[in-house]
């Protein structure tokens, strides 16, 4: 039986169907999860998809973090459940303090959607173990509040512990500190990325299929476990 990967739909989630598709293409069984339902329905991993949960009206991810499903996710993530936050999902993970730092308004103040070059910096996480260290990939970035910020000490710690998962190459699309595109928690089971791997899983609709490795990585991790 293939592992089950859940994708949460919050009010205002937008890339939830795309994350479910990516899970399916990777070979796992996609399970839709609903924000009001605290049960994770036995999934082996969770994706928090992109979008504008609750319209991003207070701060991106700030309200979604208090939904019933998040209470369970926070609890289980601390016990090792693989959790991936993409874009708005990354913002939710930071608001929930599963990841350090925060995502602030892009330095140029515009929403920006482009095909972005990245370098994978950490391959020991649940979601990036299928990449080779230093591998360069291209996946779409699209956000208005994607500038990763944290204090200097936190940034230094992230660097020292190998928690910086991916960095922007070429021009930094949002002013992120130290060109950070994605980070993990210390254990490596919780990962947040600003760019959208679920939009690079098919040659027909994406700039590449580089994003698929994110989803096959967790599968590999789950099968090995």
């Amino acid at each position: 039986m293939s592992p089950k990967v859940g994708v949460v739909t919050f009010p205002g989630s937008l890339d939830d169907r795309d994350a479910l598709r990516a899970v399916r293409i990777s070979g796992a069984e996609p399970i839709p999860l609903w924000h009001k339902d605290a049960s994770l329905h036995g999934v082996d991993a969770v994706v928090l998809p992109g979008g504008f949960s609750y319209g991003d009206y207070l701060r991106a991810g700030a309200i979604a973090r208090f939904s019933p499903v998040m209470t369970t996710i926070v609890e289980q993530a601390r016990q090792g459940l693989p959790v991936l936050g993409i874009c708005n999902g990354f913002q939710v993970l930071c608001e929930a303090h599963l990841l350090p730092g925060a995502l602030a308004r892009n330095s140029h103040l515009h929403f920006r959607n482009r095909d972005q070059r990245l370098r994978i910096e950490a391959t020991n996480t649940s979601w990036t173990n299928g990449y080779s260290a230093g591998q360069e990939i291209v996946i779409p970035v699209k956000n208005g509040e994607g500038r990763y910020v944290a204090d200097e000490r936190t940034l230094d710690e992230l660097e020292a512990r190998g928690q910086i998962v991916a960095r922007y190459l070429g021009s930094n699309p949002n002013g992120s500190l130290r060109d950070i595109a994605g980070i993990s928690n210390e254990a490596g089971n919780v990962v947040g990325v600003m760019p959208h791997p679920e939009h690079a899983v098919e040659a027909l609709t994406g700039p590449s299929t580089d994003g698929l490795v994110i989803f096959t990585s967790v599968l590999r991790k789950l099968v090995a476990a």
């Binding site: 700030a62 930071c94 350090p100 730092g101 602030a104 330095s107 103040l109 910020v149 204090d151």
Partner: protein, 77 residues
Amino acid sequence: MPRVVVDVMLKPEIADPQGQAIANALPNLGFTGVSSVRQGKRFELEVESIDEAQLQKLADTLLANPVIETYSIRGQA
């Protein structure tokens, strides 16, 4: 009903591109002598009964993100 105002600002060390954009526009509009602008949020709460500690918690958990923001509470509860 008493009103409580919570002001939320980005911490000084966090870059504020919105405030910066406003500051940059001022000289073009003929306003000189302003060296810096920072933009924040203001929340107006109509409260029935809430104590100071709860207000603090409310601001700290939801209205502001203490990782990047500070807040101040005015008015009486």
